[in-house]
């Protein structure tokens, strides 16, 4: 009996060993990059939402006409050559050879035109560009012409934008879908193909290498240059719990973690197999948004008074305790970017002066009415930022606060209400934006002062909007920098919102397993990464 058992055991072991051996070459051949991004891919249409994760998904699957390099300068990507007329109104673009969609069909100028039209209906910078567009038409299969009504200077920069709402090129079929409706098929011409059959929203998103992708010859730099794919498969594994994500990286179950929680960075830093990567323009800028429609912040004096109360250093020490990650930045456009300027920030930089703040609030007609704060308690940095702000406002000693705790989902719904605070509206909420988004007065939605068309808080100033327009029409970088100084001064005078500094969010990856990670401020690319 025991012999029989032993014999069958030996047989099973032999079969298992044989199976393992036959499976081994297949396993060895498939190089899979396992990545945890800051959020889960829940929507597959990168124009339908402005969520950054949709941009990351888009960057995998679709290609762009232009891309930003490591220094955030636009470089041609799908475009081979292009020229502009002397009056800077007519741009002619030619697509490079070998561009193919994942279904094998060639990318044509018609696809480009339809895609740009769809994108231009959803993205803020795109809408701005189309406001100055006279026509956009395909000349032949590979050439298209973009004609402007006025010499708008940001066409190329806008086409090269990264972060949210990137102008990706889709097939004409998908690009004709109503931009407020989600597309059904994901067929791009980018370096990776989306595996719809393996997509489990809230858990896993899988991409495989697109073998027919023809990368540019230039070396990869930022999102520009050759998108050479060096793995067979990329899996986005969604780990919603930051502690588990960090543990998974340490245990080698994932190779790359986009957004490790600042508290865990010292632990990751101490691990010799893990590397942290940053970019000079990488980071988040805190936004303390004020509602310009209702008292007290409908009066500029009350908004100016806030600059004498809010101390950004306290926010930084709470959100990102590591000094290496902090930047006490007084630039509305962020620090480490071309438009960096702190012009007009003197009142904010000065030592905090509650008496002055109180006097300004009185001048604004404040008589102790409750100030409604929408406090999102479920957000990684917005919750602590709220706690710091509330403490600082209480410390000022003369403000009556009505703090309403809720989840972030409730804040995003509530902030859209224009009603007075007593009727379900609000006075203050806290959010953030990426330095990349705020680096341009055009893409920086929350700085706009377009009244009804402005972002939540609805700041209103015609002169400010004129300055933004002048910036967009400036002929070169130097001219833009000069106008940025004027914009900054006007912003500090009118205080559309209060920025509470800047902090970096490095990405973490297993340097013992992967190499070739490209440093970018946002939307990390997965090409060029090699798995050892």
């Amino acid at each position: 009996m025991s012999i029989t058992v032993r014999k069958s055991g030996a047989r099973i072991a032999a079969i298992l060993a044989l199976a393992a051996l036959t499976a081994m070459p297949a396993l060895a051949e498939t190089k899979t990059l396992k990545v945890t991004m800051h959020a889960d891919v829940r929507t597959i249409d990168p124009f339908w939402t402005t969520q950054t994760i949709a941009g990351i998904h888009g960057m995998m699957v679709y290609d762009t006409l232009f891309s930003s390099d490591a220094e955030l300068k636009p470089q041609p990507q799908m475009v081979d050559k292009w020229n502009v007329s002397e009056d800077r109104k007519v741009y002619t673009f030619t697509l490079r050879d070998g561009l193919k969609f994942h279904d094998g069909s060639p990318v044509t100028a018609k696809d480009v035109v339809a895609s740009m039209n769809r994108w231009g209906k959803r993205d803020g910078a795109g809408k701005q560009l189309f406001n100055y567009t006279a026509s956009l038409a395909a000349k032949d299969d590979k050439t298209f012409v973009w004609t402007l009504k006025e010499p708008y200077g940001l066409l190329i920069d806008t086409l090269a934008k990264t972060g949210t709402s990137v102008p990706f090129v889709m097939r004409e079929k998908e690009a004709m879908v109503d931009p407020f409706k989600q597309i059904e098929d994901v067929v791009g011409s980018g370096p990776f193909m989306f595996k719809r059959d393996e997509w489990v929203p809230g858990s896993k998103t899988v991409y495989v290498k697109f073998k027919d992708y023809v990368p540019r010859k230039e070396p990869a730099s930022g999102h520009a240059g050759g998108k050479v794919v060096k793995v067979d498969r990329v899996e986005f594994i969604w780990l919603s719990d930051p502690q588990t994500a960090q543990a998974a990286l340490m245990a080698g179950e994932i190779d790359y973690l986009e957004n490790p929680q600042p508290d865990f960075l010292p632990i990751l830093e101490a691990n010799p197999d893990i590397k942290l990567e940053t970019h000079p323009a990488m980071g988040t800028m805190g936004i303390l948004q004020l509602n310009h429609l209702h008292p007290p912040f409908n009066n500029v004096k009350a908004r100016q008074a806030m600059l004498h109360i809010i101390n950004p250093a306290d926010f930084l020490n709470t959100i990102a305790a590591d000094p290496k990650l902090q930047k006490l930045c007084y630039s509305y456009f962020g620090c480490g970017v071309a438009m960096e300027t702190d012009a007009g920030s003197e009142p904010y930089k000065a030592p905090k002066d509650y008496k002055k703040a109180e006097a300004l609030f009185k001048e604004a007609g404040y008589k102790g009415e409750p100030i409604t704060i929408l406090h999102a308690t479920d957000h990684q940095y917005i919750n602590p930022a709220n706690l710091v702000m509330i403490q600082q406002l209480r410390k000022a000693g003369f403000l009556k606060l009505d703090v309403q705790a809720m989840d972030w989902g409730s804040v995003v719904a509530r902030r859209a209400k224009k009603d007075p605070p007593a009727n379900g509206g609000w006075n203050i909420f806290i959010t953030g934006t990426t330095v990349l988004t705020s680096s341009s007065p055009i893409t920086h939605t929350s700085i706009g002062m377009g009244c009804d068309k402005a972002w939540f808080g609805w700041p209103c100033d015609a002169k400010f909007e004129e300055l933004r327009k002048a910036w967009a029409f400036a002929p070169d970088l130097d001219a833009r920098k000069k106008i940025a100084v004027d914009i900054s001064k006007r912003a500090y005078e009118l205080v559309p919102y209060i920025s509470f500094a800047q902090w970096r969010n490095p990405v973490a990856y297993r340097s013992d397993r992967i190499s070739g990670v490209i440093s970018v401020p946002s939307v990390p690319p997965m090409w060029n990464i090699e798995k050892k």
């Binding site: 939402t49 407020f180 969604w238 919603s240 502690q243 995003v412 859209a416 934006t433």
Partner: protein, 313 residues
Amino acid sequence: MAAYILRRLIATIPVMIVVALFVFFLLHLTPGDPAAVIAGDEATPADIEAVRRKLGLDRPIWEQFALYVWNLLRGDLGTSIFSNLPVLTLVKQRLEPSVVLAVSTLAVAVALAIPMGVLAAARARTAVDRIVMGFSVLGFAVPVFLVGYLLIYVFAIHLRWLPVQGYRPLSEGIVGTLRSIALPSLALGMTYMALIARITRASMLEVLSEDYIRTARAKGVSRPSILLRHALKNAAVPIVTVIGIGFALLISGVVITETVFNIPGLGRLTVDAILKRDYPIIQGLIILFAGAKVLVNLLVDISYTFFDPRIRQ
């Protein structure tokens, strides 16, 4: 017996109708707006309004309710606002991990907790009893997520015996599945074990003081036989009840455990949908959970008739 089951099944219909009504109106009364979440942080109020119109969220509430009821009657739980996938497809994708986790937790908890409770009752007021009850208090008091993190630290990071996170489907081999759910089952099972062990002990102590147990002892029946054949069966009704009640505990525990251990199950689907206000998913899942709870209660009631034939009458 069949009539009893049929009667109980019919009684579940009004329960499910109330649940459906409650879920719909509670959700629509809750602050939050999926259109605002979809449009993203850079979107303007006009963009959000356009998304809301496209999703039909600007329609009157009664119109949305009528559509919801009509779809429910056709067995259609709706389509996720975000992923554009049918809720049933999402549920099917997530069902296996949750069921495997729940069953394994239940199995681990029952297999360990009942002997612990019997042992504690048999050795009442001794060191063994105190250890079991101490464990029980601890298991109930320590939060699931903390147990989870501790298990991850010890068994996954320090000893490297088991994976930190993730789920291996049964189709890829039972060993992989068991490895992936070992820590989550243990973490989730702690509370459950504590509850069952405590109830088993209390119930057993009560039964052990009955006259027929004394008679059995006097007749010379062996101690294991008294405990397992005579006492445990009679003590089973409260134990089975608590296992049934604990099912609700299990559902709420699954939500946390699945998040900590990254198990792509129904619990995480629920949390994610709530945070994003994906109404169809929340509605569909609560109805499914309610249905499952009703079914478990029914099974518990039926099991009473097995343990205590008097209930049949």
